[in-house]
Subunit: 405 residues, 2 copies
Amino acid sequence: MRFPTVQEQLDTIVGNVVEIISVDELEKKLQHSLQSGKPLKVKLGADPSRPDLHLGHSVVLRKLREFQDLGHEAILIIGDFTAMIGDPSGKSKTRPQLSAEEARENGKSYFEQASKILDAGKTTICYNADWLGKMGFSDVIRLSSHYTVARMLERDDFERRYRSNEPISIHEFLYPLAQGMDSVHLKNDVELGGTDQKFNLLVGRDLQREYGIAPQVCITMELLVGTDGKEKMSKSLGNAICFNDTPNDMYGKALSIPDSLIETWHRLLVSENAATLAGVREVVGNDPRAAKRDLARAIVAQYYSDEAARVAEEHFDRIFVQKKAPENIELFEFDMESMPIVDMLVTLCAAPSKSEARRMIQQNAVTVDEEKITNVNAAIELVEEPKIVKAGKRKFYKVAAKKTF
Amino acid sequence: MRFPTVQEQLDTIVGNVVEIISVDELEKKLQHSLQSGKPLKVKLGADPSRPDLHLGHSVVLRKLREFQDLGHEAILIIGDFTAMIGDPSGKSKTRPQLSAEEARENGKSYFEQASKILDAGKTTICYNADWLGKMGFSDVIRLSSHYTVARMLERDDFERRYRSNEPISIHEFLYPLAQGMDSVHLKNDVELGGTDQKFNLLVGRDLQREYGIAPQVCITMELLVGTDGKEKMSKSLGNAICFNDTPNDMYGKALSIPDSLIETWHRLLVSENAATLAGVREVVGNDPRAAKRDLARAIVAQYYSDEAARVAEEHFDRIFVQKKAPENIELFEFDMESMPIVDMLVTLCAAPSKSEARRMIQQNAVTVDEEKITNVNAAIELVEEPKIVKAGKRKFYKVAAKKTF
């Protein structure tokens, strides 16, 4: 295929990028690829122990897609090797132990979700257990001889923990080396990651050099702040919009971000185009609500369609602007004539526990047929017409006794 | 077999020991072994990359032999796994890379030499590549999850290097874990080592506990000071007496130790018996030379025989006391009529280099037929009768031109 010129490519690549190590090397690699007609191999690591992708992941995925559109090869590495081991010390919650099947399954799901952004047909996908799983103790000794303890302790989180006498298990030093070994195996030219991955990316670069391979260019991307406007987007912090969220949820969550985030989200999630962003900035200044509705529609349209975005907006307006119940609510039927409201909220998964259900009622967040529930011991009659239960701002349920009952 | 009582065993075991971690546990293990009739498994690790045993090694080997004599099982572990890997960073000279054959060969040689002290027929010998070589990357991650970076950095040499910014490669952390894994595999009750091995012994103890095995008792032994009376005995420092030294060399080297060492050497190498040592102390006070001759004979007798010790003493007296050449000197024949003395010394391996040969001549350490050589450019005539070349105090050579020449 015909590649754009090196300058055209560089202009595209630098968007939303925080750091390129190094620009000179990237330029040379692009030059060489242009002359030889050989696309660059661009690596992105995926953690199958956290299989739900959210907009935070989309920032690097969009960059990877840009490389694809420039004619380069995108390689998605599913880190099933470490996912299968988990955290043997049991201290890390983000590293649960997965079976080989779960790891493959999650990897497949990761790829399917990522395909909403990537050109799936042109994406190489591989599982690092295929090579890391074959390494023996002596290979690991050889691998780890290429890195020093002092260097590893320079990583921000290790340094902080070591200084404050929090234990660091030695196996934690082996994980960055394992993912660095992926780069040795793949001989990729570029690796992408968030700024929080910079250390790991550099380990891959160092190891390639140690193993006599041309070192990869490391490109780190801006991290997306979550819907709370404070923390980095993360599912466990509850400030995430997931690829698999419904259009209604996506739209509603996007509208909940603070005005100060609108432009940044637009740049990281919708378009890097300077003229477009200038337009967005103007709308934010005049009518931030309108700007946010544009953004929310654009996000839903990206993951679903323009039509889905329009419907989601209508749905939102009906419930929150006109304060009506949504048009189609799923019916839940119970095997009883009446049910305590607390039990019902837990059964509907509207509350994670009875105490949480009670708390919601005490905070006036629960209505039945638009009537506020104030008594935590109230029981709801189910034999008449179906009733509409509303819990919090966005959760609606239609409940009734089973017909056959 | 019948074991001696626990107290009798303890009395034997504590001799020459620096530390037992812990005495309580050892007592319980001895008690249990006595009741069950099951001998304790006593582990000693052997490094096949340094296959020449010297008297320094004999201190722990003698302790292991004592355990055998008390009815327990001696297990000699040949560390062929790490010997085959060597030091991949190439920084450590004491860890050259050995082939599998060399490692086995050296291991066999180690065992043969150790058999001069151990009851060979009752010694279990095993090679740790048999289990460590089967461990994969994931096993290593699990293993290393049981130890923290901070704990490893407590090891004296690591701590010193880390503080003074000397690089420590991560693979160096894996070696103590590997040898500790030996204890997990063997489920041994006791491990022996010099005081310099204390950290490694404790790693084995910790890992056994982590893997749910009763932790081994660690017994550290005094380190033997070499013939120079200063440094720990070591072949590379040139202050060692090797198991494979000739009786004459053993005897001569033993006589060269400072008087202050006689009693300690006797205790560590000949007998721990208090009455015997009191006798030695008395002789040292009255006639240190006689005490040293007794010690030297006792050492030669141990590795060879009483007769060999007597002959070695006679040989020594003839050369150094009566200043005569020894009775049987090997004849070296050269393909020439005359030879520069410097070349000759190097050819005979009397000097490691020409400059060293010149230095020896300048220090009046070289004679030919009892005549001192003073000119470094002197050439030695070889056509007449064989001549006796003496280099240093103990090296004699008979040299002549080849008859056929």
